[in-house]
């Protein structure tokens, strides 16, 4: 009896080993619950679709990608747990995520210590992410990259010469956004006529907006979180301000349009993804999403691009998918066609591609051509 079975068991074990070597595990730590759940869901869709598309496309020959999802709960502690699980139990070759910058600052150092490469797909804090170490990479543009591009494009289009600036001075994110905006406006030679501030708990912005409006600026530039952003824009319109408004990344949310309603019309926001790009890589992405009945946003596109970048890294490493191979492969990614455009990494392992500007039209974000 034994003699008959031994070869069979051998063959089975061999095929398992072969399969195991070829399935590259991608751990995705995403915010499926908690305040960032909207983003996490969009990201999961993007990763799932991209893994299927890459495996079907056969560009990796015998290597297969396998996505493993877990919920970081929009929280630091849970993010750390998920990372530890991916590193020690799942034995993932690469980790995608976590969704929020704050969670990344807590979880990424663990991956760095264990020498597991991480690809961030939505962390936009300018500092404190990729500076954690040489295993941390990202495909999401930072505030510091999106806003100057947005200011430049919006100025080329609208030709404004003067601006009024309003920002939240009690929040790290909105203050950092303001610093970038001020620098971008200065670089473009736009004169800032008046700067006003507010605090997160404020609900009444009439005083600030009246002061700004009285200087007659060509454009209002605002750095605020989505909640405040909606109130600010609504109150500006109520005060009779009819000019253009340019917002920071806090505006880049459907919640902003929902709460500001018709007041949101015409508001300009920088974005990392040009949804109407005719680029073949973007068209392929859009088709893939249409086939699955998903309406994609910037977060879906960045997640999808993340998987393409990992696939390219494996290819660059000679169809090998170990942790070290993928890290080495990332460094060789150059001008990779993705839904975000031609993608490369900067020497500091941050994303490098062209940002776009979108404008609210008919209750939806549309790309400003």
């Amino acid at each position: 009896m034994h003699r008959f079975h031994e070869p069979l068991i051998f063959a089975l074990a061999a095929s398992f080993a072969a399969y195991g070597a070829d399935a590259v595990k991608v751990g995705a730590a995403l915010s499926m619950t908690g305040p960032a759940a909207v983003y996490g869901t969009a990201q999961k869709n993007g990763i799932q679709a991209a893994v299927e598309d890459v495996n079907k496309g056969g560009s990796l020959k015998s290597v297969r990608l396998e996505a493993v999802f877990d919920d970081d709960g929009s929280k630091k502690e849970q993010g750390i747990n998920v990372f530890q699980k991916f590193i020690n139990q799942t034995r993932a070759s690469v980790i995608i995520g976590p969704t929020l910058s704050t969670t990344a600052t807590a979880a990424d150092p663990i991956a760095q210590q264990s020498k597991v490469p991480v690809l961030a797909i939505s962390n936009t804090a300018p500092t404190g992410i990729t500076d954690i170490g040489d295993y941390i990479w990202r495909d999401s543009l930072t505030e510091g990259q999106v806003i100057p591009g947005a200011v430049k494009k919006a100025r080329a289009r609208l030709g404004f010469k003067t601006a009024g600036v309003l920002y939240g001075n009690d929040d790290v994110f909105t203050k950092a956004g303001y610093d970038v905006m001020k620098k971008a406006l200065d670089n473009e030679g736009v004169q800032i006529l008046e700067t006003q501030t507010f605090a997160k708990p404020d609900r009444d912005f009439n005083a600030q907006l009246t002061a700004l409006k009285s200087k007659n600026p060509d454009i209002l530039v605002i750095s605020a979180l989505a909640d405040n952003a909606a109130s600010i824009v609504t109150q500006a319109r109520q005060l009779g301000y009819t000019g253009p408004v340019l917002g920071g990344n806090g505006f880049n949310s459907p919640a902003f349009i929902k709460n500001a309603g018709s007041a949101a019309e015409g508001v300009l926001v920088g974005t990392a993804w040009n949804s109407s790009s005719q680029d073949p890589a973007n068209q392929a992405f859009l088709k893939s999403m249409r086939d699955r009945g998903i309406s994609p946003d910037q977060f879906t596109a960045q997640a999808y691009a993340g998987v393409l970048i990992i696939a390219e890294a494996i290819k660059q490493a000679g169809m090998k998918g170990s942790r070290e191979d993928i890290k080495a492969g990332f460094a060789k990614v150059r001008d990779l066609p993705t839904p975000l455009g031609k993608f490369s990494f900067t020497p500091a392992r941050d994303a490098l591609h062209e940002p776009s500007v979108q404008q609210v039209k008919g209750g939806k974000f549309e790309i400003l051509q």
Binding site: Q196, N206, A230, Q238, L239, G261
Partner: protein
Amino acid sequence: MGQQAINGIFLGSIYALFAVGYTLVFGVLDIINLAHQAVFMLGAFFALVLVGTLHVSIAVALPIAVLFSGALGILLDRIAFRPLRGRADSNLAGLITSIAVATLFEAIALQLFGPDTSRFPFGTFPERRLQVGAAVVSTLQLGIVAISVVLMVILTYLLRRTRLGRQIRAVAESPRAARILGIDVDRVIAASFFISSALGGAAGVLFALAFNSLSPDVGRSVELKGLAVIILGGMGSVPGAVLAGFAIGLIEVFTVAYLGSSYRDAVSFAVLFSVLLIRPRGLLGRAALREA
């Protein structure tokens, strides 16, 4: 200038409406009701449910929400204040139970509505802009100021001219004397809570309409401001609260416009401080002798 004055009067009218209810309960009971801000918030949410989910017109929803807030006030009196009445330390104990009720109300709102900002549907209040010289006033702003003023006039009339008003004033003067004169003190106190909370709820609805944002912690932003208003106006003085409400609204707006938003509260409280130095009983407060 003109526009900022309008902004100040607009904000001040809401502060004043919030504060008259606050000061009324203080005048009657000598208790600061720190749950007033939670009633303010729940009143606004109640109107939001009526308008947003049940598609009731705001003209109907506002009075219903005001009655609902008034009823909350009676409930508040029953659970937080009445059981403690007559105790030697009832002022302090009442202050603390009112904080507990505020926390409870906020937690309920958090469960029901979540932490995100909600808002009234668009076009809840017919909105048109009117040009006044160089300034712009919206019909919404005019409506809010008008509703606040009307409610405050009604309150003044009620306190000065009606039987209930006389009873409330009698209880404020001396609960014991009032009881000897045959006044049902508990009923009068419940009525004061009803009126106070009804006005607080009305202020909440108007605030949410005015600034397009409503969340379970919305009351916190007016709570301290309201306290400053009633101290500035003179504790327990309704006309004082009205005057101080408009004053603080105007001060805030001009501070933000000319000094920056970081000084918003600093200037309001500095004014409060200096007024108290010169006139410890507040602008229209009665001398504290009565207490002795």
